[in-house]
């Protein structure tokens, strides 16, 4: 970012005809209709977003990142996320997910390409892009010695929200996320699940339109995870665009409408969750048997496995019928008392795509 040591016109608001001017890091507003007037920013509210012209919450074009050691983490990815979407960005470790998120939130310098958040370019409209972006990182990157409530007050302050305005909002989020009783405790005294929720509260305190969550439910117990899912679904229903990276693929399948899979720095799949799952050719069903069997029953056209005497696994290709399987099992006098898919369907697809042997 260039040094703002002299007057620099930062941006023009097309709707209002007003120009925001930076003087030594502080801003003022000049109104085209009244050229002699220069208002300090406290007297002027910029339009909240250029939302009428923009339909994407996130636009990434030809984004490349090569680290100093020569590692090419991103090889020119293109990605768009529509406003209001609940979007999953999946990929194995080292695929480029965290680099992408790092670039979005200015923790990683990109090598080339462009990124827009709610229509604002992160290079040219740095401030406005940041105002619309909330990030829940993987690591607990808050001051462990600071009180829980102060962490949120500080974050609000960094986003230009005065304490008086931030206080009721912070109370709301702390209560909603079950942290209100811990507001005066130092953050290091919180449990892992509470710290995770504190990260979410911190990311929401400036009311972002785009919320990015990097593995938000890692190390969180099932009950709490379900609670987080409900919470995220709720804020998504209220209009916040959400991008999620996760290793729990059932999470992506349950929550996200659209999915992108990234591998070796390239996007290898990008479509709706439903379409992606439809491309899955084979599903493995695990059948719990009523009585033990000695040998694998032969069912024409289906591959079966017997991990133990009470469990039969059957691979069913797209277009094949489960009725045929049950008919054949009945003929072999094998009784099934329950059945489930071996892995989450998205997980099966993910593994096949990222291991390079997509069927």
């Amino acid at each position: 970012m260039p040094i703002r040591s002299s007057i620099r016109i930062a941006r023009k608001f097309a709707i209002s005809g007003k120009t925001e001017i930076y003087v030594a890091g502080f801003c003022a507003v000049k109104d085209a209709t009244d050229p002699d007037a220069l208002y300090p920013c406290t007297l002027y509210k910029p339009p909240p977003t250029n939302e009428f012209a923009v339909s994407y919450a996130l636009e990434i074009n030809s984004l490349k990142k090569t680290y100093d050691n020569g590692f090419e983490a991103l090889k020119g990815i293109d990605l768009t996320v529509e406003k209001g979407d609940f979007f999953a960005l999946l990929g194995p470790n080292g695929a480029g997910k965290s680099t992408t998120i790092g670039i979005l939130c200015s923790l990683v310098n990109k090598s080339s390409g462009s990124v827009k958040v709610m229509g604002y370019d992160i290079d040219h409209d740095f401030g406005m892009a940041k105002r619309h972006l909330g990030v829940v990182p993987q690591e607990f990157n808050f001051n462990q010695f600071e009180k829980t409530q102060n962490i949120l007050i500080n974050t609000a302050g960094y986003h230009g929200i005065p304490r008086a305005e931030a206080t009721p909002r912070i109370e709301h989020y702390l209560k909603r996320l079950g942290l209100w009783d811990k507001r005066d405790n130092p953050s290091r005294a919180l449990s892992g699940g509470m710290k995770r929720r504190l990260l979410i509260a911190r990311a929401l305190v400036h009311q972002p339109d785009l919320l990015i969550l990097d593995e938000p439910t890692a190390g969180v117990d099932i009950e709490l995870r379900r609670g987080m899912w409900d919470f995220l679904t709720e804020i998504n229903n209220q209009g916040t665009t959400i991008i999620l990276t996760t290793h729990y693929l059932e999470e992506a399948e349950a929550l996200c409408r659209n999915v992108s899979i990234i591998n070796h720095g390239e996007i290898i799949a990008n479509s709706s969750t439903r379409d992606l799952l439809a491309s899955l050719h084979t599903v493995t069903f695990v059948c719990d048997l009523a009585a033990p069997i000695d040998s694998i029953p032969v069912i024409d056209g289906y591959e079966c496995a017997l991990p133990d005497a009470m469990t039969l696994e059957v691979e069913v290709d797209k277009g094949q019928s489960l009725n045929e399987v049950f008919a054949a099992l009945s003929a072999h006098q094998v009784s099934v008392i329950s059945m489930r898919t071996k892995t989450n369907r998205l997980e099966e697809l993910f593994v096949s795509m990222t291991s390079g042997d997509s069927k």
Partner: protein, 268 residues
């Protein structure tokens, strides 16, 4: 009120950098006052020992220096020593701590300008330097009488020095990768330069060659300009002192802003 999202969606982002600046300063001041045993007490004890040993015990045998009794002569230098070490240490350790604990990312992901981040940290360093400077000044009154010769010089030199060494501390914090890295410069550079910077003696006592070498030491200008403000005597011209201090401050500021803009030490 909705369950998940706070219903007052509209946010007055007003003057974001001003609010952010106040937030950083408040956080910084709260940090050094919360750990006052580490930040306020050590300089008070160290300086009291200097007053007792160098001022009272040894100073009585030294006699006058620059036309003043030795205790009165060394007090301005010791106050400046406190200002220098505390402004430097505050910013270098606080910024490195934020990097180490990764909570510097809270600022990097927010819309604050780099200059606001820098000014916030520098103001925190200046605040601690002024706090400690006042404590040391009050302690010195138990040992000597201080008559201020030029209050404007005292205030301006104190603030300029605190700003300069806060900036240098910030640059140190940016480059530091381990906790050791924030103590190397104070131990091996600042302390020797301070001792050789005319805190305890007038450079008139040095042979010509070493008096010339001493003039390369920026702390000499700080100490003498501040001594002029208190006692009205100085080994060097006040104009030179201000010129060098202001120049160094501008250079340090530009370097610090550039380092932040390039993301040195904080972005990959």
């Amino acid at each position: 009120m909705s369950l998940a999202n706070y219903e007052e969606k509209a946010t007055d982002f007003g003057n974001p950098n001003w609010v952010a600046y106040q937030t950083i300063v408040r956080t910084e001041v709260r940090r050094f006052t919360r750990i006052w045993v580490q930040t306020m007490i050590p300089p008070a004890i160290t300086m009291t020992l200097y007053f007792i040993i160098f001022g009272s015990l040894i100073g009585r045998r030294i006699g006058d220096m620059g036309g003043f009794d030795y205790m009165a002569y060394i007090v301005p230098g010791l106050i400046m020593m406190s200002v220098i070490t505390n402004s430097y240490a505050n910013v270098s350790s606080s910024f490195f701590g934020a990097k180490f604990g990764k909570f510097i990312e809270e600022m990097l992901v927010s819309p604050i300008s780099n200059q606001t981040i820098l000014l916030g940290y520098v103001t925190g360093g200046v605040a601690r330097a002024v706090f400690v400077g006042i404590i040391v000044t009050i302690l010195s009154l138990f040992f000597t009488h201080l008559a201020i010769h030029n209050i404007l010089a005292v205030i301006s030199i104190t603030l300029l020095t605190a700003v300069l060494f806060s900036l240098l501390g910030f640059i140190n914090g940016v480059y530091a990768k381990r906790f050791d890295d924030v103590s190397i410069v104070p131990t091996f550079v600042l302390t020797p330069l301070t001792y050789l910077g005319g805190v305890f003696f007038s450079i008139d006592l040095l042979p010509d060659f070493w008096a010339g070498v001493a003039q390369l030491n920026p702390i000499l200008y700080v100490v003498n300009a501040f001594r002029f403000g208190i006692l009205g005597v100085s080994d060097i011209s006040l104009g030179w002192a201000y010129g060098i201090l202001v120049s160094m401050t501008v250079v340090a500021y530009v370097i610090a802003v550039r380092l932040l803009a390039n993301g040195a030490g904080v972005r990959s």
